[in-house]
């Protein structure tokens, strides 16, 4: 009997047994057309310090399983799901647990198929027509088991909790130097490793290991509240050495937090940002554009939104009215604007296969100002058409995946970032993202910045607090007249989507960009 879950426990033999079990289930359950399973086992450590005091710490492990069954009744197919965590002492009964989960998901899928069949007939020829017989168009599955290792220098499973506690405590203690200028601070540090396993009734077996380390630093000074995240799919080495990669650049944690503290204190003494009546020239840095691209390119190019599946929750997209009336192939931005999602880039949005075993592919969303396509899943690509590109992801296996971003970015241009400012007589420079609010179909946004500076005669002048910008998305895209070559990637630690809410880590980024928008200040 196990008292602790560890990643090596999910052995090759056990994974093969799970694949066999799913194949067997597909044979014995009447009408079961397809079953797939997601399983994750993880080990992690974390500590949090509030106001310079170590608040809590933890060294824990966990495991979760999710099962999807597609079953048919009288030729009509429908899905059913089940999900649950698995405790250490249950681990030896894992196959039995999975078997029961398949049965529960099957029961829901069959009941769903029966009701769909009945409703389709009862409401035909009107609203019953569009009820879909859920037959997925599958990709070419890998024929042999796939194994993708994690990358790290310091193994998160072996890294001592005491060192994580020290990192949190020492970083938090650094804020003492700011005295009463800072009213509140929080430092959270974690490192973890996760083994994700995907299997289905066609015999597919994909194992991917991910290391992930993250520090979140939150500082308040006066009415200024700012936060930032240092994170990567690596071990705890990033806290000591920082990250120095072609697209990802971070200082060590103590310097990263110190810079944030200085920003907070400086901002608390700055005037409140004014609001402009009309659009003005705006230059936004890569950190600000990380959230901007997330909200006004990433979310509206998720095909589940396009197909209205998020109407009651995360919203729709202005890029698709219905499958025969979309913005694909139409100009939505200036010639300088290109954007894409690329799971092969490093950072939080990196992976090789998504949570239904589909190879992760780069998707061009906007090429030279023309809208070109969506991130999708097997279901949404079957309905809408096109090849699946591997963006169906869940926060944890117990939850049902949704179409999520990988690394969604604005493409680099060829301008020097300083030249984008130098050309402006009267405008604003927005540095660092803060808080977003986006319209339902992503057609309009207001996003606050950590810092706003006035641009006067090509120079950065007055610093403002509590400011940001707002525009209609298309207007903003069309007005882009400068794109920098300083492409950067940043972690987004808390993208929310789904019911129940799934808060997910993913990657975004871009270069410095110049366009036009209305500056929005504080009250």
């Amino acid at each position: 009997m196990a008292h602790r879950l560890e990643i090596p426990m999910l052995t090759e033999g056990l994974r093969a047994d799970i694949v066999d079990l799913l194949g067997f289930s597909a044979k014995i359950w009447k009408g079961l057309a397809f079953v797939d399973l997601r399983l994750a086992i993880g080990q992690g450590k974390g500590a949090g310090a509030e106001n310079m005091n170590l608040l809590a710490a933890g060294d824990d492990f966990g495991m979760g399983v999710g099962v999807r069954v597609i079953a048919e009744h009288n030729g009509i197919h429908a899905p059913g799901y089940d999900g649950r965590p698995v405790g250490a002492e249950e681990f030896e009964h894992l196959l039995e647990i999975i078997d029961k989960m398949v049965a529960a998901a099957y029961e829901r899928a069959r009941a769903n198929a029966k009701e769909k069949y009945w409703t389709k007939n009862a409401l035909s020829p009107v609203f019953g027509q569009s009820l879909w017989n859920m037959v997925l168009k599958f990709p070419e599955w890998p024929q042999t088991p796939i194994v993708v290792p994690a990358k790290y220098a310091y193994d998160p499973a072996a890294f001592p909790l005491e060192k994580i506690k020290s990192l949190a405590q020492d970083t938090a203690s650094m804020f003492r130097a700011f005295g009463k200028n800072i009213n509140y601070s929080y430092v959270g540090v974690s490192t973890e490793i996760m083994r994700e396993f995907y299997a289905n009734s066609f015999g597919v077996s994909i194992t991917q290991d991910f290391a992930s380390s993250q520090a979140i630093v939150y500082v308040a000074a006066g009415d200024v509240q700012i936060y930032d995240v240092l994170g990567h799919q690596r071990g705890a080495e990033i806290f000591y050495k920082g990250i120095h990669e072609p697209f990802i650049e971070f200082q060590p944690l103590i310097d990263f937090a110190g810079a944030l503290g200085q920003d907070a204190v400086g901002l608390s003494r700055a005037p409140v940002c004014p609001t402009t009546e009309k659009e003005v020239p705006v230059v936004t840095d890569p950190h600000y554009n990380t959230l901007l691209v997330h909200e006004i390119v990433g979310h509206p190019t998720e095909l589940d939104r396009g197909l209205k599946m998020e109407t009651a929750y995360a919203g729709r997209t202005w890029l698709l009215k219905n499958p025969s009336d979309t913005m694909v192939g139409k100009k939505i931005g200036s010639l300088l604007l290109s954007a894409y999602s690329d799971p092969s880039l490093p950072g939080y949005g990196h992976y090789n296969y998504d949570h239904e075993g589909v190879p992760a592919k780069k998707v061009d969303h906007i090429v030279d100002g023309v809208f070109t396509g969506f991130m999708n899943s097997l279901q949404t690509s079957t309905i809408f058409g096109g090849e699946p590109n591997g963006h169906w992801k869940a926060t944890s296996p117990e939850l049902v995946p949704l179409v999520r971003m990988s690394n969604t970015v604005f493409a680099a241009g060829d301008s020097r970032p300083e030249d984008l400012v130098a050309d402006i007589d009267d405008g604003y420079y927005l540095e660092g993202h803060a808080i977003p609010s986006i319209a339902e179909s992503r057609e309009n946004f207001r996003i606050s910045a950590r810092k706003v500076r006035k641009i006067e005669n090509g120079e950065l002048t007055t610093l403002y607090r509590n400011g940001g910008m707002s525009a209609d998305s298309r207007d903003y895209f069309m007005a882009i007249d400068g794109v920098g070559k300083d492409f950067r990637l940043f972690p987004i630690p808390n993208c929310g989507k789904g019911q129940p809410m799934q808060v997910k880590k993913l990657g975004n980024g871009g270069p410095t960009i110049r366009s036009r928008a209305r500056i929005t200040g504080g009250a």
Binding site: D59, D82, K116, T119, S130, L131, A312, S470, P500, A523
Partner: protein, 524 residues
Amino acid sequence: MKSVEELRKACAEALAYLKAQSDIADAQVFMAANKHWLCRLNYTSHIRSNGLEEPKASQNFGTGVTIVFADGKVGSGSAESNTSIDGLREALAKAKIAAVKNPEFHGLPQPEFGKPTLTDYHDNALMGLSNKQFVSIAWEVLRQGLRGAYDVWKTVALSSKKTDIPNPLDLNLIIGGDVQLIRERMAVASFAMPNVQTDESSMTAVSITAMFEKLAAKGSGFFAGKTLNELLHGGPEAARSAINSAAATMSGSRIESGEHTVIFGPQAVAELINNLVAPGLTAGAIFAELSPFQEDFGKMIASPKLCIYDDGANPEFMGVKAITCEGLPTGRTDLVVDGKLAGLLSSHYDYQRMLWDPEGARKLGVDPHEHKEALWPRNGFRFGGGAGRQFSSDPSCSGSNTIVTSSEKEPLENLLQRVKQGVYIGRMWYVYPINGSRAGDFTGTVTADSYLIEDGKLSRPLKPNTVRINDNIKTLLMKIVGVSDQLKPVNLWGADEAMYAPDILVEGVKLESIGESVEMTRSM
């Protein structure tokens, strides 16, 4: 799912085990079992869809401990799917490794806050629902919406103005949302309160959004309840309401940017309170100096028309619970009384550190020791992701049933009659404190169920997604001039607490017309 008696027995055994450990000075054991069923609906008449998109369930149970060790360190640990002594050992081992000396921890809850008043308030029929029954209920909700939509089409088709809708499918109908059911059981005991306390509750909610997308019409319907009978009636009714509301907002108009007199409907009020006001009405936010209401205790923070309270012990409301996840009785906390800040939501940890904080009187505006009852820890819950009480989480402060009301309530018609020209905002989303919680600046957009008000009546519908509100919550609360006497349950996406809200009339709200260029592009 573990029974209450199984949890009670396991909790007693666990406490006895912990008492026998020489290195433990104080301890609390918390055990929970949850089952969350959710049927997510997605029907689209113009795109192939499953109708019932996700019939799904997740469940968990396990043990959580908070241990005060003899050396003064405090640690928490948990064991998944295990309420045996082995599970307790696993949780204890984790607590030991995790333990830290936290100077802001001043002890586990003591029996000084009274006794719980509720027993046996859950519905056994709801607790015993089967997979097939639940799937069938969800489909019936959807079918009711589809029938309603057909009725709407007949009306539209008969109207000479809408000759471009020859077929119901041309309405581009969308019905989305969910039917959900949460069943939770828990047991808690500690050295200071060794008699095991248990609680068992069930809640059910239906949230439906309907659109006639071709006509840019969008409506919402909500249901919240505690019994199977309520669900069987209220679920389909919510779907009908959403369809009817969407039908009433066909072919909406835009408004000009500027200051407007606004009546916020219950969902919009709940969105404002849940995202901007309630988080600032917690002891934790005041302690951290992140509240828009710092130093305001006893002062007017809103118009005298506004009252807000939280009442976890009221069985009339969906979020009812007998005890908190800290083993303390739930109850009523008056937060805002006739505009005055009168109390704060608190967990025991936040309550204690507010009392011990040498800066407490400055942060609160009064000496917290003189207003202890206003800070009583009635809201220490271990919620997580809207799926019941989580044994693996430490308690934190959350609302239970948050009620927005007034001591001068009046019918909605009276509020309308006072508006010569204005806007009724029925549904908002993405309402965030855009410059941080303390500054009070906020923004959000209007998504559905909204109308123009002309000469005291709802006149034309407001086109969805064409208005952004840019204002400050502190000034907006002061500009409330009327509160309606209807109190409606509102299901907020991702929220764990239940919210009940009326309509509220506010003058001088800053609204901005948005999205026109995108709209023109789409209509080309």
